[in-house]
């Protein structure tokens, strides 16, 4: 009997944490980034004989090496953060909008269309104003359609928003084919009706606008009545109805906001920087934004930190492969993947703790003692 019993004793227990001091969770997160760096160094060392110092230095060089690179870093950061900020109200409402790619792209398409047809016909200011309105409308509609179906018929918003991405991509291809008569299939940048630069700096205006958006969204979510309503709908629809909230209205209003901000981001990208459009304008930022939003626990200020990390990695790694002369760009995704894996994986240690059972005859009692010590230290 006792032998049988010993066999059954588990070696360790996984226990959900009730709380954790801030310094501990911060150091666990720092540790996860450190671990990711170590694994990446190891892989590059084995695969490309690249020593860790070269790897890390080219990573930083790629991001901060020149003034232009710093501006590009900040600009990329602003775009990713802007799209993530568009997602966060929807996510807080537990509306899984994974269609930010499409909503941004369709906003960009609206802007390009106005520039294409009215550029040079109207004064620049008029073109800019009209293209902003059209972008807002386009993004808003792209957000509104799945929201309407969700609110009215309870359709699954994840699939719906995802499919809307492909419609946006196909529309962009269609219009490029219509506008470009030659066989290149590339729409040349349109130089009329562009957003002005600030002192010759193309990036600054976008960066400032996203900074304003950041403040707005933080306040909107935390202090406004709308913010209260949408988090209540996300928390529990029944509670929201109990509190007298019109759930359908809130779903539609919030997704409209989400889509409109995406549309504005599309406008900023096209009118402020690319001046043209291709199907890869947004380049998956709508999906990266999902991770940024989730990892920061829907807190706009933490979202700055997570987007810094992701933009740093994507810009840094592209410099790494250039410096090392690696033609296989898969390594870039591998590095980013390792970081995702470590950061998300280490969350386990923030949420749970592992308690080991000691070997020997007093297995039971040692586990209990360990637990008691833990419990007492918690209470103290």
């Amino acid at each position: 009997m006792t032998k049988n019993k010993a066999k059954h004793e588990p070696l360790f227990h996984v226990v959900r944490r009730t709380s954790m001091p801030a310094w501990q969770s911060i150091s666990i997160r720092a540790l996860s980034i450190l671990a990711a760096f170590l694994v990446c160094c190891l892989i590059l060392l084995i695969a490309y004989q690249c020593d860790p110092i070269t790897f890390i230095s080219s990573l930083f060089n790629g991001v901060f090496g020149t003034e232009r690179r710093i501006w590009l870093f900040l600009y990329d950061l602003a775009i990713l953060l802007g799209i993530s900020l568009a997602l966060v109200p929807a996510f807080k409402m537990k509306f899984w909008n994974i269609g930010a790619d499409g909503q941004t792209l369709i906003g960009g398409l609206g802007c390009v269309a106005v520039m294409h047809y009215l550029g040079g016909v109207l004064p620049d200011a008029g073109v800019i104003a009209i293209s902003l309105v059209v972008s807002i409308l386009a993004g808003g509609i792209w957000g509104l359609i799945p929201a309407f179906f969700k609110a009215r018929f309870k359709t699954n918003e994840t699939l719906f928003t995802l499919m809307m991405n492909y419609i946006a991509i196909q529309l962009v291809s269609f219009f490029i084919n219509t506008w470009v008569s030659s066989g290149t299939g590339v729409l040349k940048p349109i130089d009329t009706g562009n957003l002005p630069t600030i002192g010759g700096n193309t990036y600054l205006l976008t960066i400032i606008l996203v900074a304003i958006l950041l403040v707005f969204m933080s306040v909107y979510l935390r202090y406004s009545k709308h913010g209260f309503e949408l988090s209540l709908v996300g928390e529990n629809e029944n509670t929201a109805r109990y509190a007298g909230i019109n759930v359908r209205k809130v779903i539609i209003r919030t997704m409209l906001l989400s889509g409109v901000i995406c549309g504005v981001m599309g406008f900023l990208m096209v009118s402020g920087y690319t001046h043209t459009i291709s199907t890869s304008l947004v380049n998956g930022r709508g999906f990266t934004g999902v991770i940024v939003t989730w990892l920061s626990g829907f807190n706009p200020l933490y979202m700055v930190l997570t987007s810094v990390l992701f933009v740093f990695l994507s810009r840094g790694t592209s410099q790494v492969i250039t410096n090392l002369g690696i033609t296989n760009s898969a390594i870039q995704n591998i590095v980013i993947g390792i970081f995702y894996f470590c950061i998300i994986g280490f969350e386990f240690f923030i949420r749970y703790q592992v308690l080991f059972t000691k070997n020997g005859s007093k297995r039971n009692s040692s586990l209990v003692k360990g637990l008691e010590v833990k419990a007492e230290s918690k209470e103290a």
């Binding site: 509670t239 637990l371 419990a375 918690k378």
Partner: protein, 513 residues
Amino acid sequence: MENAIELKNITKRFGTKVVANKNVNLTLRKGEILSLLGENGSGKTTLMNMIAGIYYPDSGSIYVNGEEAVIKSPRDAFSYKIGMIHQHFKLVDIFSAAENIILGLKERYNLNKVNKMVKDIANRYGFDIDPKKKVYEMSVSEKQTVEIIKVLYRGADILILDEPTAVLTPQEIAKLFTILKSMKKDGKSIIIITHKLNEVLEISDRVSILRKGKYIGTLDTDKTNESQLTEMMVGKKVDLEIDRFHTSFDELLLEVKDLSVLGTENHRAIKHINFDLRAGEILGVAGITGCGQKELCEAIVGLHPIKSGDIIHKGQSIANLTPRQIIDKGIAMSFIPEDRLGMGLAPSFSITDNMMLKTYNEGKLPFVDRKKARAEAINLIKELDIVTPSTEIAVKKLSGGNVQKVLVGREISAGPNVIITAYPVRGLDINSSYLIYNILNKQKAKGVGVLFVGEDLDVMLSLCDRIMVLCHGKMMGIVDATKTTKEELGMMMTGKEKISDDISGKETQNDQK
């Protein structure tokens, strides 16, 4: 004579903080009925789950028939002839009784043989069962019968029943107790988990008491009484009297006229109900689970659409208005729903944010007034002794009693003239329950009309002025709580028309005068 089960120093923890059981000792003698008494959260079910093989103790040992036993799974438990009937039934709806009974057994599928054996067991102990009936066609008490026979079929000599009476009517309880007694005569040993004192005294030979996961003691039932048991269960003396008084308000607050409401599956959940609620009274609503109480409450407060009929608040129809429209009409109606964290409160919101759940929209600014809500939260914490580290903690982290205090406190502080409340003490300990009764009584004294959907008939009989009984969405009648009995209510709950004279609200009022 050796003991059927002996537990020695059993400890079980969940996570690092929660000690569900701490060094518990317990003895079940052969051929006795032992009650396991304790408040909600005192660790009764956890302890029994360790005997039934659902959990494994962190430390301590279990002896079955004098030998140390290792029970790693329910299958192990059956090999020791131990069977547990859980509070929430674990049956397959689309299977028949017989199919459910042999489910999981490694024997030849021979329904004729099974049917015969089931009949044998039923005859021996006095069960009523049709082995061919499908589970989805069964009433709660029939399902329970299937669960018990399932355990007996597997040859159990030791039976554990987790709160078996919680879902039954008084008549069904009496029948169950007869069966338990005949099983005891047959030599079975039985543990029955409960927190109802009268049942403990009625059915069991001995009673063991747990409090906050600790073993307090065991008493012979014939040498104890309710107040001693309560004291052991709660840890201090508790006054179990509920004060009922008559008020002299005579205002008609709420009239429900020929109300019909469709349930979720489009069947009629409430059928042509008529009643009224007056100022300064508590009107009880009794009925077995799912007889339309939930739909009735939600229809009144505007959370459930109405099929036909009318609801009138002080002469103003509120039928089919949304909660917001009702608030905007200036009607102060509070609703304490049965699902606290699923409807009445937002579990991951702070106490402060929960305070402004219904009032966040006040004021012209686009911002919420958290300062005012925080002040209200501080007030409430002081007034109702809510145990919490701060106003900013998520309500889901509070204990059940404190959660309910937040909900009830908020609803009361809105100054309502009608309170609709469904199972307001479900899952609460005795102290919190009596605090809630007191709060409701105070509101009644102030002239508030209270609609009280309850499940404990003893409490309803001593708290309510009148009791309305529902059965399958039909109103079976309204009886005077001072003149009726538990048995009469039980009969009405299962569909028999009222026996004593039906009384309307007007007549009660005249009686009181």
